[in-house]
Symmetry: C2
């Protein structure tokens, strides 16, 4: 790989200039600003690699589907060319679409999420082709333009193109180094079902003197919520936990190998204790394999200063269920409805607001081994293996549903500020990321 | 009483003009607007009756303490000369301090709460003196100017003047006709303890992905609240119900005699059922003798439109405990604290915001009988007897604490809109009220 690394090193300035071009082009999915220009820019870069690029219309921003290379193995890659809105603009040190390098970091909207990874992969392929020769595997590349607005058309695209998308492994959009600056590989995502529970009682707010005889929707909500989780944070929805797939031996081994500085983690989160005062493997198992029921919002009645005596007519809770395999959003809502009905809470309305499926990759897939080998060579240590990101994303329809093992890996670090002002990546991380992609191509083609 | 009634009838226009003068004078305790002028107006009217009037300084608005008449019996009267702020002024049909008669009703801020009752009692005494002669009993009259801001100095006044205040019965500030237009007598008030329960967890809001390992203050609040009341609306605070004094046989007889049109009551409240689908005597017993725990407000995290996945750092509930004898506010807070601590909810902070003691009068007191006799003669029916108003007020320190039986009776009706725009009384009710006071003086002096 000397020639590959040498090619990269000798083109460092041009690669940074290319990256600045990528992030200088706005592409805000929420507003549509610059989307067509960005798609054209990406398409041109892919075509310059010799890829055949289809522009798949979706009704929203088009999905670019590129194919290049030849070989017995096929690598699917997923990226997106859209970015979050730059607001609040006032909090940026320099304007979000005017990239600037300071202290070895490149600041711009989208550089970490995920134009750095998108262009880095293009440049790594360019380096392979020019320094080594033809790609030793086939690459299929899906690049959508609606990730930041919830990927409303990705699942439909994946279903319609299931056969064309078949691959031996998928490299997901982004990833990078953790809080200890250790390179990490993530093998899945929790799913999510977000709902509002709503209870309407009396038809208007009443004087609280009537509370002795008029039912309160607020108490109904409290009692209903209380049946969902007990005081030890166990989820108590009927049959819910029956659908949680236990971690395999290989997955548990991954957790046992994972470092956890408990004091540091608690300090970073601003908490005094973990749930149930748990430690070590219990904490890690809950964090990565545990489903959650989180009350994100709660409101009823008068919430201003001082005293108002009122029996409110309405109460609601916003609840986020993080789902692990094999808990699907549909199952979550169905079990919740049945659980509440069985206890007489037919007056508690469930309003689903958004959802994503959980996704989980096999630990022993060839892609995982290839990523680990590449990481060892580039980063000089065993990568931290994260079985299931505690966040959620559109991974399932494109990968797990098609039985394609998937790894998240990329060029971000814990200070990257994705979605926030002063989003940035470290340029040293960026070039390590290019070397990682080169080695991944090599190891995955050989595996 | 013919001469008495004749005196009133012949002075109807002058009495209404006097009432307009009373309500034309603003006296807003919350802002201080017009308070000194109103106190002077009331003092002059009392002195015109021949009363000795002390102006007792409190640090806030002064309390007027008047004494007049002679006889073996003493009647204490309580009124207040302050009113609620007139806001929102835009919603008044005519300006709040420009009294106007429309359809036999006098509209003005304070006319129902409680300047109509205050002046009506003065005019009834004038009518007695001029039509019949010397008062046959002694009257002690306490008129404060801070009722609408929670009577912050009344308890201290009552303690300091306990001996001077001794009386055989107390006529409370106001009262009147119920939704069926039946005249009612009320013999007490529920007390109140209003608190905020606050739970702080993690030091800042977290990404909800961390909910698997970071304790949630919102769930802590839900679990703590759930221990306070069960799904049948029974209060489950340890030892709480031990302090609820059961209704006496005479009080239960009062409830059995009370009319209750369930369908009409439910329609008026906008509810489909009473708590636990109860009926008849169960509903009345809960309404009048039942303590309550009402969640008046509840808030945590994100409560706007759509989805925000967050583990909130803070949650709170505003709770109104309506207290029946012998549950005092102090006992309520003490039992609540002990109950929560015993269950490990030491992290749930209790912040008391305001309180009033419950007050309850003997059913068989001479004043009750005198009021009933007067009511039968004026209204032509047995008055509806209400043991304990489901609302709260400053009755306890001036009456129950001094062992003085107390009755609420007055000139309002269900459309009086106290505290709201277009506050009003019906003038026919007003003159019935004058006749009621005349007969009450007679019956109570004779009893």
């Amino acid at each position: 790989m000397f020639a590959f690394d040498d090619y990269i090193d000798s083109r460092r300035d041009r690669f940074i200039a290319d990256l600045k071009d990528f992030v200088r082009q706005p592409s805000v999915a929420a507003t549509g600003h610059g989307m067509a220009q960005m798609a054209a820019l990406v398409r041109a870069r892919l075509q310059a690699l010799g890829a055949r690029v289809q522009t798949v219309e979706t009704g929203g921003a088009p999905i670019l589907f590129a194919e290049l290379g030849h070989g017995p193995r096929t690598l699917l890659i997923y990226n997106h060319y859209d970015v979050q809105p730059p607001d609040p603009i006032d909090l940026w040190t320099t304007p979000p679409f005017e990239p600037e390098v300071r202290d070895g970091k490149l600041y711009a909207r989208g550089v970490s999420d995920n134009k750095g990874d998108l262009l880095g992969r293009i440049q790594a392929i360019e380096a392979w082709q020019n320094a080594i020769g033809e790609l030793p595997l086939k690459i299929k590349w899906v690049i959508e333009g609606e990730e930041e607005i919830g990927s409303p058309h990705l699942a439909e695209f994946a279903r319609a193109h299931a056969a064309e998308l078949q691959a031996d492994g998928c490299l997901w959009e982004t990833g990078g180094k953790n809080e200890d600056d250790l390179f990490s590989l993530t093998l899945g995502l929790k799913g999510i079902q977000y709902v509002e529970l709503r209870v309407r009682g009396n038809r208007r707010d009443l004087h609280s003197g009537y509370a002795a005889i008029a039912p309160s929707p607020v108490w109904r909500l409290i009692w209903a919520l209380n049946t969902l989780k007990d005081e030890h944070d166990n989820i108590t929805i009927d049959q819910y936990l029956d659908h949680v797939r236990a971690p395999s031996e290989a997955e548990l081994a991954m957790l046992r190998a994972m470092p956890l500085d408990e004091a540091k983690k608690k300090a970073a989160l601003g908490i005094d204790r973990f749930i149930n005062d748990e430690h070590g493997l219990d904490v890690l198992t809950r964090f990565y394999y545990g489903p959650t029921v989180t009350i994100c919002g709660l409101q009823a009645g008068y919430t201003g200063e001082g005293v108002k005596t009122v029996l409110p007519a309405y109460a609601f809770a916003k609840i986020d269920f993080r789902l692990v395999p094999d808990l699907t959003p549909e199952l979550c809502v169905k079990l919740l409805r049945a659980h509440l009905d069985r206890r007489g809470f037919t007056d508690v309305e469930i309003v689903p607001l958004s959802s994503e499926q959980p996704a989980r990759s096999a630990v022993d897939a060839p892609l995982v081994a290839a990523c680990q080998a590449a990481a060892r060579e580039v980063y000089g240590h065993e990568p931290v293996m994260i079985p299931l990101s505690p966040g959620s994303g559109p991974m399932y329809p494109l990968t797990t549903a098609l039985h394609i093992p998937t790894v998240m890996a990329g060029v971000t670090y814990s200070g990257s500020r994705a979605h926030a002002p002063d989003e940035n990546i470290r340029l040293d991380d960026y070039f390590e990321g290019l070397r990682f992609i080169g080695r991944l191509i090599m190891h995955f083609a050989e595996a």
